[in-house]
């Protein structure tokens, strides 16, 4: 088992719990940040292979800001080294289709969505698409 690192940025302890259990069972090393600011700090210290990011934390769009900061096209960005880390965004069912995302910077710079409620099998399937296991 490789030791790929996954950083979960989410303020909901219970939800983090449901994410952590299957991921750790599958052999990933899971870290957690309870806010967007803490998440941005931990990206530097942990240097994860994948980030799972919630949208609504302290503010309703905090997750969007985190993803935009990480993927900032600014050459002097302090997150330049981390801009290639895949991001999975946690959203509610039905809202997925209203969010636009993709490689274009005008859209939300995330790689995929995970719909709540979390289904462990779906979660692992999505994660494996972005982290070689």
């Amino acid at each position: 088992m490789a030791n790929e690192k996954i950083l979960i940025i989410d303020d909901d302890d219970d939800l983090v719990h449901t994410l952590r259990l299957p991921l750790e069972a599958a052999g990933y090393i899971v870290s957690r940040a309870a806010s967007g600011a803490e998440g941005l700090e931990k990206v530097k210290t942990v240097d994860p292979d994948l980030i799972i990011l919630d949208v609504m934390m302290d503010s309703t769009t905090e997750g969007f800001h985190v993803s935009l900061t990480l993927r900032s096209p600014d050459p002097s960005s302090e997150y330049k080294a981390y801009s290639q880390i895949p991001i999975l965004m946690l959203t509610s069912i039905h809202t997925t289709t209203t969010l636009r995302f993709g490689p274009d910077q005008n859209y939300l710079p995330v790689d995929a969505f995970i719909e709540k409620p979390i289904d462990p099998a779906e979660l692992l399937k999505k994660v494996r698409e972005y982290v070689n296991k």
């Binding site: 939800l15 449901t18 994410l19 299957p22 509610s92 289709t97 209203t98 409620p117 779906e122």
Partner: protein, 621 residues
């Protein structure tokens, strides 16, 4: 009363103009008549007296008539409204006619002349055109002229022209005296009768005019009330309603200004809500404090109150400001709502004692009509605020209710999946039951919120735009892959067109429509069956068919399918949890996006839902 005098003057003036023209026309005939008579006397009867003077008189009459004719045309072209000019012209005509008539009488036999009777015409003309006094003066002038002529002829100072053979009337002094007395008295009696009748007729004409003006004004006001009802009620925006009321009221009452003041929330003062014709300074002079304003209190107690003279009335709170604004009298009417006074409407006039009883009833009518419109607009505004609160509430609830539910379901799923350690079957069964109930609760919350949002038309404000129908349907189908797999169903998506299918809608709405249909199909199709979703386009219409080999819908239930909370009996038997809201939401959404939904079903064989939606190109065209 000023208006009435003017109306009367106008009437007399019109009459003068028409009459002068008419008399000129008649005088042509009179002149020609004199000619004809001269010819008849000289050539047919061959009277002994000379007829040349008669011809001359005819020529003179025609000549001055021609002058009058051109003068009148000139006056009419220059200035129509100069009454004194017409009056002078009339007097001049009568004077010249008198001369001509007198000459005619002299040359046709004096007291013997049959032309004597023609003097009466001029008495009647004077009575119609001039005042009674002037008519009597005319009569006196006629009597004097004829009397003098006859006297001169009688005394021999003037030669007597004897028209016909035989003894002369002048040989019998009493006969001459009798003719003259009767002639003169007849002149004055005619003058009296004609001028009395004429002035009575004129009086009635003026009265009729006044009456018709009053009627016209009453009609105008009714029309204004009716129009106001139309325009005032054509908007629900409070400010527009108020502005229209004050503008229309000022216009219809023909007054300087009009204002509406509404009670504030505390009910202790009246704030200016709309004005027409008042200066900024006057509007800003201050609020009407009810405690200091007995007049406003009285009006709000549902009485229309007039202030006939601002200078002397002590009930006003700001008399000096009103005077400075040029306001001399006011009329205030209450705006009464269903639950009490709303405020007052006030009309302002620059004249002292301007307002009549008619004005009082008109303002009261405007006020009661305005009150309804104002109350409607207020209710509408309150509704709008409620709607806003509701949408905020829905947004909050969406987050606060949905989030914990989805976390509960996530936790339970993790447990069922065994990540918390292997569960004994009995416990696993319990957790699964809990999960099923939680799933149902989530659906119920989602549906109720959707329904609440839909019912309030909140979504009309949502951003519609071009969305990819083919992509959304694909995502929906993929979302159900796992569940279909677990039930061993074949779930397939077939796209029968190569081009992208774009429609005008919201992605969330379209997702909801097909998520409901596909999840129903998967839910009500027994294991081993199949669910197919087929998307095709034809003539600018996108058609999506969701077909399953499920339990089907009984014929009785087809009519109730889209009713809120309705569930077909066989569906209830198959799946206990269900809100009965899914299809009603689905239908509402389809209709909202300009589409249609149809269903075909056979119990035990399967169901097919067909949704058609106009494509973006069709909509643009």
């Amino acid at each position: 009363m000023k208006n009435l005098h003017r109306a009367r003057a106008e009437l007399v003036e019109q009459e003068l103009v028409y009459s002068v023209a008419r008399f000129i026309t008649m005088r042509w005939l009179a002149g020609l008549g004199v000619f004809a008579a001269a010819w008849f006397l000289g050539s047919v009867i061959r009277v002994p007296s000379p007829v040349a003077p008669l011809y001359l008189i005819g020529v003179v009459i025609l000549a001055y008539n021609a002058v009058f004719y051109f003068v009148l045309r000139r006056i009419l072209r220059l200035n129509r409204s100069n009454t004194s000019m017409f009056r002078r012209l009339t007097e001049l005509q009568i004077g010249l006619d008198w001369m001509a008539m007198t000459a005619l009488i002299h040359f046709s036999g004096g007291a013997e002349s049959p032309a004597l009777f023609y003097f009466f015409f001029h008495i009647i003309i004077s009575a119609i055109l001039l005042s009674p006094a002037a008519t009597f003066v005319s009569a006196a002038a006629a009597a004097l002229l004829v009397g003098a002529t006859v006297l001169l002829e009688y005394t021999g100072s003037l030669p007597h022209v004897s028209m016909f053979a035989g003894p002369s009337l002048y040989d019998r002094p009493f006969s001459v005296m009798g003719v003259m007395i009767l002639f003169v008295s007849a002149l004055f009696v005619s003058a009296y009768l004609a001028s009395t009748i004429s002035s009575r007729l004129r009086q009635r004409e003026v009265e009729a005019l006044e009456l018709s003006r009053n009627l016209q004004r009453a009609y105008d006001r009714i029309q204004t009330l009716y129009d106001s009802a139309q325009t005032i009620n054509s908007t629900l925006e409070l400010q527009k309603v108020l502005d229209r009321i004050v503008r229309r009221t000022a216009g219809a009452m023909n007054v300087q200004a009009c204002s509406i003041r509404l009670l504030d929330e505390t009910g202790t003062k009246l704030l200016v809500a709309a004005t027409h014709g008042l200066s900024e300074a006057y509007v800003r002079k201050g609020d009407l404090i009810l405690a200091q304003n007995p007049l406003a209190r009285q009006v709000l107690a549902n009485v229309v109150i007039g202030i006939p003279d601002v200078r002397t009335d002590e009930r006003l709170q700001y008399p000096a400001d009103a005077l400075a604004e040029g306001i001399r009298s006011m009329l205030s009417a209450p705006l009464m709502g269903k639950k009490g006074p709303l405020g007052l409407i006030r009309a302002y006039s620059a004249d002292v004692d301007h307002f009549t009883d008619d004005d009082v009833s008109f303002l009261a009518a405007m006020a009661s009509q305005g009150s309804i419109a104002i109350e409607n607009a207020m209710a509408y505004r309150a509704l709008g605020q409620l709607d806003e609160m509701k949408s905020k509430f829905i947004l909050t609830v969406t987050h606060e209710l949905r989030s914990p539910m989805s976390v509960i379901r996530s936790l339970l799923r993790t447990m069922v999946a065994g990540y918390t350690g292997a569960l004994p079957d009995s416990q696993k069964d319990m957790v699964k039951r809990a999960l099923r109930r939680a799933d149902f609760l989530q659906t119920l919350i989602d549906d109720l919120l959707d329904l609440a949002a839909g019912k309030n038309e909140m979504r009309l404000k949502e951003q519609r735009g071009p969305v990819r129908l083919d992509e959304i349907v694909r995502q929906v189908v993929e979302r159900h892959d796992t569940e279909a797999g677990e039930k061993q169903l074949v779930l397939e998506y077939r796209l029968l067109t190569a081009d992208p299918v774009t429609i005008i809608a919201t992605a969330e709405g379209i997702d909801r429509i097909f998520n409901n249909l596909v999840s129903n199909a998967v839910k009500y199709t027994p294991g081993g069956g199949s669910v197919s979703v087929v998307l095709d386009t034809e003539n600018g219409v996108a058609r999506v068919e969701v077909r399953d080999t499920g339990i089907g819908i009984p014929e009785d239930s087809l009519n109730h399918l889209y009713e809120e909370f309705y569930r077909a009996p066989n569906a209830k038997a198959q799946v206990k949890e269900g809100t009965g809201l899914g299809l009603s939401i689905t239908k509402e959404l389809v209709l909202r996006f300009g589409g249609q939904i149809a269903v075909q079903s056979t119990v035990g064989q399967g169901t097919s839902f067909i949704v058609t939606l106009p494509s973006a190109e069709t909509r643009a065209a």
